[in-house]
Structures are given as structure tokens and as C-alpha cells.
């Protein structure tokens, strides 16, 4: 592994001045301006799920939305909702995780519980994945014989590892389909932040109870994941950071979003080498 580079918090970067990170910056700048003019179709929350037990401040909440789908709402993220949404859009594009959308939450939806007023306004919604379980739930399910860890799918595991490594996801989380064993990357509130110059230095592997950390660590499988990541065009990466509200909690200034996209574009070509080495294949 190469030496870890200098860390620059994205929020401090001036995209005009950071020339080293801004190769092709003028074009990216213009393209992002254009993409910002094409608004994402707004979806709004219709109603929350019935609460079986009393909710706490940190309880996640699921809502049905106007596009006919169900989303988990995220009213805040450690590094801003812009990061959560951009990473969600990228994992959806690679197929490593559920799509993320901007969800407008009318005040009526939580009018019966003022504690949940924090969800009002534009927040990030992560598409609900029915029939999937967190690693914490899987640990319990294995104990009671309700989960067979042999079903876990190596190809989707490899795709999640490669994608989370590219996005530099910290405190990474996955969910696993109980029947098909497909692995999904979820919760990306702590990602895309450290401006590590050069190639990724850490391979992000989330442990799944009952499953070897080496599942998916075969180049024949990983190669497909890398090809998927490499197939994502610059325009798509810029689209992932486009059209965000500059509302409180979002940290979605134009400069910051452009810096995130540029960082992703610069990091993308290194993913193949890093994953090849991790799989024990010398280039």
C-alpha cells in the first residue's frame, strides 16, 4: 500500500485555488452548473409507518413517498446531507446499494409527534430494501438458525467492498438479503470527506457474521466490480452531486460539491490497482 497522503477537509477547499485537485476543473465547473439547472423530480413524504414502540430521537423513520416507494429518512448526517445523498446516488449507480433521493417532508406528516419535527423540510431518503438485514440482526438470526450465511453472494460483496473503498466510507454498514444473499452498502453519512491525495490506502471490508472477510476477494469476481466502477463517466459523478438544496444541515455549497466530485473523479482510476493488490494479483 502506498503512503497515506495529506488530509484536507473538503469544506476548506476553494475549488478555484486547489489546482492540483482541479485538473479539468473548468469543464467540471461548467458541467456542474449545467446539471444544477436540471432539477431532480421532487418526491414528497405521504405518511410515516405506524410506530409499534415509542420512538427515540435517534430512531430511523420509514415513510411512503409520492413516487410509490418507501424510504428511510435521514434528517442529518455527520458530514452533511450532501455527502449522504451523493454517496447514495453513486452506490445506486454501481448497483452496490439502494438509491437515495431528496425527499420533501410536509409538516403534516409528523404533526402528531413534535419530536419528529426534525424530519420536516428537504431531507435524504434511502430506498427501503425489504427482506434485508443489518449485520447486528444477522448475528441474532444466526444464533437462532434463521440465517444461512452460506447464501451470501460473493459478487455483490466484492462490489460493495470496491465501492465503499472508492468512496472512503467510514463506519461502513451493509445489509444482506436473507433469501438471495445480496450485499448492499447503506449509511454513507461519513464518507467522501478526507481529501486523501492519490490512491485509496484502506480497503473497506465490513464484517458479516458467519462470513469470511475474504468472501469476494478473488480477482475473477472483483474484476467485474472494478469494471462497473470504471464504467461510471465523469458526467455521472458530477450528476451525483448536482441539484442539491443549500438548506441547513446539507453543507451543499457549489464549491463543496464540486470538490467532492473532483475528488471522486481523481480517485476512480486507482480503485482497480488497489483491489487487484488486495486480491493478491500483481499488476
Amino acid at each position: 500500500m502506498s503512503e497515506q497522503g495529506e488530509t484536507i477537509p473538503i469544506g476548506l477547499i476553494d475549488p478555484v485555488g486547489a489546482t492540483e485537485l482541479m485538473e479539468g476543473g473548468g469543464r467540471h465547473h461548467l458541467l456542474l452548473r449545467q446539471l444544477d439547472r436540471v432539477p431532480e423530480e421532487t418526491i414528497y413524504a405521504l405518511g410515516r409507518e405506524p410506530h409499534e414502540v415509542a420512538v427515540t430521537y435517534s430512531s430511523p423513520t420509514r415513510v411512503a413517498c409520492s413516487d410509490g416507494k418507501t424510504y428511510w429518512l435521514k434528517p442529518k448526517a455527520q458530514r452533511g446531507l450532501a455527502v449522504e445523498l451523493a454517496a447514495g446516488r453513486i452506490v445506486s449507480r454501481t448497483g452496490a446499494g439502494p438509491n437515495a433521493k431528496i425527499v420533501e417532508v410536509p409538516a403534516v406528516v409528523f404533526r402528531d409527534d413534535p419530536r419528529l419535527g426534525r424530519f420536516n423540510g428537504p431531507v435524504v431518503g434511502s430506498l427501503h430494501l425489504p427482506g434485508t438485514f443489518s449485520t447486528k440482526e444477522i448475528r441474532v438470526m444466526i444464533g437462532s438458525g434463521q440465517f444461512d450465511s452460506r447464501v451470501v453472494d460473493p459478487a455483490s460483496r466484492a462490489l460493495v467492498i470496491a465501492t465503499q473503498t472508492w468512496l472512503n466510507v467510514e463506519d461502513a454498514q451493509v445489509r444482506v438479503g436473507a433469501l438471495d444473499g445480496r450485499v448492499y452498502s447503506v449509511d454513507h453519512g461519513v464518507a467522501l470527506d478526507a481529501q486523501l491525495r492519490g490512491r485509496p490506502t484502506n480497503v473497506v471490508v465490513v464484517s458479516i457474521p458467519g462470513v469470511s472477510n475474504d468472501l469476494g476477494r478473488e480477482w475473477a469476481i472483483m474484476k467485474m466490480a472494478v469494471e462497473t466502477i470504471e464504467s461510471i463517466r465523469e458526467e455521472e459523478i458530477l450528476a451525483a452531486v448536482a441539484g442539491m438544496p443549500d438548506a441547513p444541515g446539507w453543507q451543499a455549497s457549489f464549491a463543496r460539491r464540486l470538490a467532492v466530485a473532483t475528488w471522486l473523479i481523481k480517485r476512480q482510476p486507482y480503485v482497480g490497482d488497489v483491489m487487484r493488490e488486495w486480491c493478491g494479483v500483481m499488476s
Binding site: L46, G47, P50, A64, S66, G68, T70, P106, V108, D112
Partner: protein
């Protein structure tokens, strides 16, 4: 334009001691526009037991009638009802909802999110699903139908009523997840015996075996069709349900293409 309203979920608990409730329907009320809607899940996916299916259907029909009659339009009424009914059929406390211009689209989205049973793929059309289709076709056409009902001592898949007569119905599907030709023959035999006992004309709704079906299923299908013909029982396929339902309600369907 978003309107304020609320929704409530109807839950079915067949065994209150075990307390395992299933979501069976969703009620949506737009208080400002005074609109109420109810969407019910396919009951065959809630319970495979025919008599339970019948009881649950009756409860939901009663509930739907109250809603239609203008009851349960505000949260206080729903709260009172949710405390009063049960334990078999219960109602969640009203949950706020943002209702768009299209109330039915909002109803569908909430129903799909919180009530709709997950569909298994490529499992064919089961007995229960065919029964659900029959009930839906009849209710849409305004024909009276009672699923899982007795006539005398004999239990039938459904009883159709209309035009001054009642018609017991048998459902037979050769296209379910695991069709059992012998079991279907026994069911057909019971149906013919029961019709004979109560001296009524019957109707048999049959889903034919799929193309890849094994020979015993095909042979059994032909055998049962012959029995029904011998017993003068009308047999229709799923595609015939809408026109049959319309004829039972007294309103024949208009032809799709009308000649001038």
C-alpha cells in the same frame, strides 16, 4: 396541492393468544375534502383457510360499508372505533398523511408501503389468487359474492347471488406453486357431491395447467372438465370472470367494438 388527512391500518389477528397480527387493509381519510377510501389486501395471501377467508371478508365488507356511509371521517371517530373493535380485527390509531391531488395515488402508495403482501415470483396462479380475482370481478360489477360460505352443511369456495338465484362456485387451479392433481380431483368430486345434496346449479372456475405441466396434470384437467360437463356444471377460465360477474349483476358488458 397537499391536503391534510390521516390513514389507519386494519389488522387481523386470527389467534389473539399468539398475537400475530397481519395488515389486511388501509383506510385513508382526507378530512378537508371529506373523502374516504379503503384498500384491502388479497385475502388469500392473508389466510389460506377458506372459512377464515370468509369471516374476514365479511368483517371487511361491514367496515367498508360504514366508511361509505360517512362514518369514520375524523380522527376521534377512528380512535373510538380502534378502541372498541377487536381483538380479531383491530385498527391502528390514525397516522397523519399528506394527501396529493390524486387521493387514489396516495392510497396506493401507502398501501404498497405498509400493507401489500410480498408477491412470490413465477409461482403461477394459486387457488387463493383465483378466488381473489373472482371476488374482485364480482364486487367491481356489483354482483353479490360471499367467499368461503356454507349452504346447509356444505362449504363452498364462494356463493354468488344474483338474478334471484344463488350459485355455489368451485375454484380449481392447475397453475399454482405446487398443483396436486389428485387433490384437485377430490375437490371436484366433493363439489359435484355437494351440488347434488343441495340441489343447486354450480359454477366451476378453472385455471388450466401451464404448457410445461406434467402429463398427470393435463390428464386430470381433462378428466375434471368431463365430470363437470356430465354434471351440467358451467366451467369458465379466469378470462371469463368479468363477463360472468357482469351477467350475475344483471348488467351485461358492452362489446369492446360496437357495430354501427
Amino acid at each position: 396541492m397537499i391536503s391534510e388527512g390521516f390513514y389507519s391500518i386494519l389488522r387481523y389477528t386470527p389467534d389473539s393468544a399468539r398475537g400475530e397480527a397481519k395488515n389486511v387493509a388501509l383506510m385513508l381519510v382526507d378530512e378537508r375534502r371529506d373523502i374516504a377510501r379503503l384498500r384491502v389486501a388479497p385475502l388469500s395471501q392473508i389466510t389460506p383457510k377458506l372459512n377464515e377467508h370468509g369471516v374476514l371478508d365479511k368483517l371487511l365488507v361491514q367496515f367498508g360499508s360504514r366508511l361509505q356511509a360517512g362514518e369514520l371521517r375524523d380522527q376521534a371517530q377512528v380512535n373510538a372505533l380502534s378502541r372498541a373493535i377487536g381483538p380479531t380485527l383491530s385498527l391502528t390509531a390514525p397516522i397523519p398523511a399528506a394527501i396529493g391531488d390524486n387521493v387514489d395515488a396516495t392510497l396506493k402508495a401507502l398501501y404498497m408501503a405498509f400493507v401489500a403482501p410480498r408477491q412470490s415470483r413465477d409461482a403461477g396462479i394459486s387457488h387463493g389468487q383465483l378466488l381473489d380475482r373472482l371476488v374482485k370481478a364480482c364486487r367491481k360489477a356489483g354482483a353479490a359474492i360471499e367467499p368461503g360460505a356454507y349452504v346447509g352443511d356444505m362449504l363452498f369456495d364462494a356463493i354468488l347471488s344474483g338474478l334471484g338465484r344463488r350459485t355455489p362456485v368451485q375454484i380449481l387451479s392447475f397453475d399454482g406453486a405446487s398443483p396436486n392433481p389428485r387433490g384437485l380431483e377430490q375437490a371436484a368430486g366433493y363439489f359435484l357431491f355437494a351440488l347434488n345434496r343441495i340441489h343447486e346449479d354450480g359454477l366451476c372456475v378453472m385455471q388450466p395447467p401451464p404448457e410445461h405441466a406434467i402429463d398427470p396434470a393435463r390428464a386430470s384437467y381433462r378428466r375434471i372438465r368431463n365430470w363437470m360437463e356430465d354434471g351440467r356444471v358451467e366451467t369458465i377460465g379466469p378470462e371469463g370472470l368479468p363477463s360472468m360477474a357482469a351477467s350475475m349483476s344483471g348488467a351485461e358488458l358492452l362489446p369492446l367494438v360496437m357495430s354501427t
